[in-house]
Amino acid sequence: MTTLDTDLRPPQPPRLVVFWHRYRRNRAALLGLFLFAIVVLMALTAGLIEPGDPLRRAGPPLTPPFVDMATPLGTDQLGRDILAGIFYGARISLLIGVAATLISIAIGVVIGALSGYFGGWVDDLLMRITEAFQTIPNFVLLLTLVAILGSKIEWITLAIGLVSWTAPARMVRAEFMSLRGREFVDAARNLGVTNTSIIFKEILPNALPPIIVYASVIMALAILLESALAFLGLGDPNYASWGNMIGQGRAVLRTAWYCAAIPGIAIVLTVLSFSLLGEGLNDALNPRQKK
């Protein structure tokens, strides 16, 4: 019978390939990836395509789009080039999105992992804290944090991260609670592996897929939160962010719609790309669920 046993299945394609195949099946997700790639590309090439400072005066104020080729998408109230703003704004939006997401996921993972893995009083304590954070309306907390820290972009990002970690924490906790009872965790414990290793090396990698999917949601929410802050005039004016552009553009909404509409569309498309991306990831990472 030994011959039968060494008879391994043919090696399977690498995970990434499988992942990509699964991902590719969802056409909307491909669109999301495409949009996302564009945003990333804009962020990367901002300095090349639109050299110089996006806050600089580039032409007469409130030039409509497609009128002056030097400022193809027009200019805003202070004569700043909207196209440059969109390109540099992609950078800021991505930066805020990614950094805030990383912060919130990092907090969420630590809290959720400890609470889900250890249970008992650790769980009780951490969950009370989570509930407390969840009970305070997150936007109000965000406003308070920004009031305290000021509207520097670093602080805004940190504050957004600080108000959005509860959902990932709960998610990680749920994952950990279900995973900690799995046999492979018992197996690791049985081998004498330390708790830290079990948490971070055994369970966490398996808990990641839903978190990665959720990260796209946080990313989208982070961008929306930043734009809402900017709308209330609490954005960082030292950077061209889409939220700032809308916040200022809305004053001229009726006469120069493009000042608010163009960054508005940029936000919609970017957030859309994140959610499509998230759905694609979900399909690819959790194949249990049908499309």
Binding site: M1, D5, L8, E183, F184, D186, A187, G192, T194
Partner: protein, 547 residues
Amino acid sequence: MTNNTPVLEIQDLTVALPKGADRPFALEGLNLTVNSGEIVCLVGESGSGKSLSAGAVMRLLPEPDVHVAAGSIRFNGQDLLAISETEMKAIRGNRISMIFQEPMTALNPQKTVGWQIDEVLRLHMKGNRAARKAHAIEMLNRVHIPDPVSAYNAYPHQISGGQRQRVMIAMSLCLSPRLIIADEPTTALDVTTQLQILKLIRELQEQEGAGVLFITHDFGVVAEIADKVVVLRQGEMVEHGPAAEVLNSPQHPYTQALIASVPALTPPPAKPVSTMPVVLKGTGLNKTFAARGGLLSGKRKAVTAVKDLSFHLHKGETLGVVGESGSGKTTVSRIVTRLLEADSGAVEVDGTDLLACSPRELRAMRKEIQMVFQDPMASLNPRKRVVDLIAQGPIAHGEKPEKARARARDLLELVELSPSAATRFPHEFSGGQRQRIGIARALAMEPKVIVADEPVSALDVSVQAQVLKLLADLRDRMDLSLLFVTHDLRVAAQLCDRIIVMQKGEIVEQGETASVFADPKHEYTQNLLSSIPGRDWTPPTRNTDAA
């Protein structure tokens, strides 16, 4: 009891799978006839296409991914593939009914048992509410549910698994269907319950004269219930015929191999190990799971899972722990390995009390006692490569990674896996191979004792036989002591020198396997033994060199 009107005739049925599946057709050219009053068993290993053939008859395939590509299915002479969905709906549940494997999930958790039986009646019968209720209660009575009226009003989670399966049966029989399709209806049940259900199905089927298409992978069950047998392998029908013929003189080599893998119920003679030193000793173990009125988890009574349990295991010996579901077997194995804290008692490994160890001492002690788990997929971290899985233990205990990995490759060979498998991930292996990896992982620690909790119950019989043989080999070669937990008495008979029979957390009987099997003292043990399906059938012995 068989009259020869065919109820179901399947001809050349071919079911196509979607692109990218492991094979193009789940079923190819299946031919099968079920006469009224006849039980036809469809047997085959996992993935052979049994459930899909049932789905094809019910026209409940997950179309369009999986669909009937060719062939015909006739029910009472009517071509099921040709009629409209409305007509089919009228037939489903009424003329053809189905019993599913998992009684836990096959019932809607949000509706009472009565409502769910009533639904069938409402859909297919014009009767008033009172008449329907009377009928439903009558059916519950017929499937021998104690107190049918209260069961009628109960939610599925309020009754036991066996009772749920009875409800399923009542539901499928209440309109006296001509054809009953039962897809592994007893696989999830305890042996004793299984026997009762099998008897029930037989009894009702005889009363109604219906034809039954019974799907199973267990030859014991086949021997218990079948009139005719159809054997499937990878979607192809390899053999069919009357049950007695196929069971006792199988023609096709595949059938022969399958039947040969069924463990015989005759235990081997006990080894004289009692002179060897005791390596593992449990004394006065107790474990009660506290009542938990979790916020939303509902009320739960306190469960005494293990009660005043003591045992010992000699070097080189295999001690079997058997008992029904919920009797506390797993709890014992987890207490012994201290994956679960006992309430009281001691577990001595080579004289050291494991339960009294400090966390640091415990980590060192873990080397001595290793575990092989039930579910080979779930017990291997899906994100780790095989070498790392096996080398993980030694590395955690301070071995140099390169050395541990090199040894892991050796161990792969020891468990009869090609060393080229080392860099793969668990999902790239079959179930039996995965379990070998699990065994290699345990062996990597060079333990004195291995605790195995149902290590083969998730495997197909043929694979099960291989893994058992490997375990036995290794035990003998390396002089291991084995604490072997199983609910399958056939398996216990094959492997164990001594067995402990547990009921509700307590040992009701223990002794050498042969003597317990031959002359069970306790009523519970007797009951268990007499419930083994096909206990009167001894698989024909054959040389296994071909495999």
